[in-house]
């Protein structure tokens, strides 16, 4: 297959970036998107045309959340429930023009080319996305009964890999789906429920401080989440926020 790639090139965080065009040929339809970029980088290095294109990646099997490219107007490209590394070239047509951009958000500054700094998501987790308890031995699994549907909801929320596609997709660069998932998977379970009110306040305050936008219920985040995290988690976040405003009784 043959493609024309338009890739965002930016020397560093302070440089002015621009799109560069690279034609590429002899790409197998079974090649993954990142492998296609590897092939491009090999040719850029061998032919001494330009510096290789920088892009984030790690596990390349859709579980680490490192890769993240905005491809032809969609985070992670033209498929549902996948990360960029799971996107294959057979999803494109021969001769297609492909526009590749980094995630765009004030909270995700570009470091170089297609690599952005997503540590803002880590800072939100540091603000409250944990259970603040000293643990002893591991209790028996049946010692704390949890209804199956609650465990399922918590597990679904915990599937979030923090790739930032929700922020990239949202027209407001809002991180509500991410925070909603992180709040939900802890608050739904007995161990996390204890600190649920404090957690939601800390995480939302940090989210606002870091410059993410407000949710306007467009649900682009849900449409583009590679782990299919549902909007119900945002609703739960809102519910817990209201609870934290009305029901927190502290000295």
């Amino acid at each position: 297959m043959r493609f024309t790639l338009h890739i965002w090139r930016q020397e560093n965080a302070h440089a002015k970036g621009q799109f560069e065009t690279y034609p590429i040929d002899n790409i197998s339809p079974d090649c993954s998107f990142l492998e296609m970029l590897d092939i491009l980088n090999e040719s850029l290095i061998n032919d001494r045309i330009a510096h290789p294109v920088c892009f984030d990646n790690d596990c390349r099997e859709g579980i680490c959340g490192m890769c993240g490219l905005y491809i032809n107007g969609r985070p992670h490209g033209n498929d549902d429930g996948i990360t960029t590394c799971q996107l294959h070239m057979r999803k494109f047509n021969d001769g297609d023009e492909i526009w590749i951009e980094p995630w765009r958000a004030k909270a995700f500054p570009v470091i170089r080319d297609l690599v952005v700094d997503r540590s803002a998501l880590d800072k939100i987790i540091q603000a409250g996305g944990y259970i603040n308890t000293t643990t002893g031995g591991v209790p028996d699994a049946n010692a704390i009964p949890i209804p199956k549907h609650v465990a399922d909801m918590a597990m679904d929320a915990a599937a979030c890999i923090g790739c930032g596609a929700c922020v990239a997709a949202c027209k407001n660069a809002s991180a509500m789906l991410f925070v909603g998932a992180k709040v939900s998977h802890l608050a739904l379970l007995p161990q996390g429920e204890v600190e649920a009110m404090d957690r939601v306040r800390s995480m939302v305050e940090k989210m606002d401080e870091l410059g993410f936008g407000n949710c306007t219920n467009t649900y682009a985040c849900e449409a583009e989440c590679p782990k299919l995290i549902k909007r119900q988690n945002i609703s739960r976040l809102n519910r817990h926020w209201i609870g934290s405003l009305l029901g927190r009784d502290k000295k």
């Binding site: 338009h6 965002w8 799109f19 905005y70 032809n72 107007g73 969609r74 985070p75 033209n78 526009w99 951009e101 765009r104 958000a105 004030k106 909270a107 909801m153 997709a169 027209k171 407001n172 660069a173 809002s174 939302v204 305050e205 989210m207 606002d208 410059g211 993410f212 936008g213 407000n214 949710c215 306007t216 219920n217 467009t218 649900y219 682009a220 449409a223 583009e224 549902k230 909007r231 119900q232 945002i234 609703s235 739960r236 976040l237 809102n238 519910r239 817990h240 926020w241 209201i242 405003l245």
Partner: protein, 214 residues
Amino acid sequence: MQIIKLHSISKKILVALLGMFLCVFLLFHAAANMCILRHDGGAWYNAFCDFMGTNYLVKFMEIILLGTFLFHIILTVWVTIENKMARPQGYHQPQRSKTHTGSKLQVWTGILILVCLFCHFMDFYFVKLGLVDGNLNFYEQAHQKFQITHIAISYLVFFVVVWFHIRHGFAAMFQTLGLYNYKYGRALEVLGKIYSWVVCLMFTSVVVGVYFGF
């Protein structure tokens, strides 16, 4: 320095609560307008207008309603500005994510509603306040206005815009208030569709009914 500190979710909750109040008012307004279709020479409708114009509780609620409108708009503008600031550099390619069209147009439909509302006030509300010359018999005023083709069409366009706005806004309101869950989410969406269609068809039926002389 931030003069008023409101967290992102708190702002949205306020917008939703104000929107909920406006939804209740809209249903009330639409129901009252249906009196125009009665062939009683405006007895019911004018009696209703007299009540609305003289009752002190209504006058108090009128101030609350205008405040609600104003606060709803101010908060929405505030949220929109913050949202624009959250992505200083946009994407080159237009977004192709599968999202609701209404949600993307919410701000624009809101602005259109504001413009249409001003024209509507010029026809009726400002006449009541004495700011604009016009017929204080609102039954006659409605008949005079809605029988003019371009005004009737303008009102129908207005109702389509309102339909778009509340079609998304109604379900979004419950989502923001944390009531959209796995159990009732779908039901709330259906309720939103029913509400938006019912309210807009009630308004439309009055304009169409007067125009064609039903």
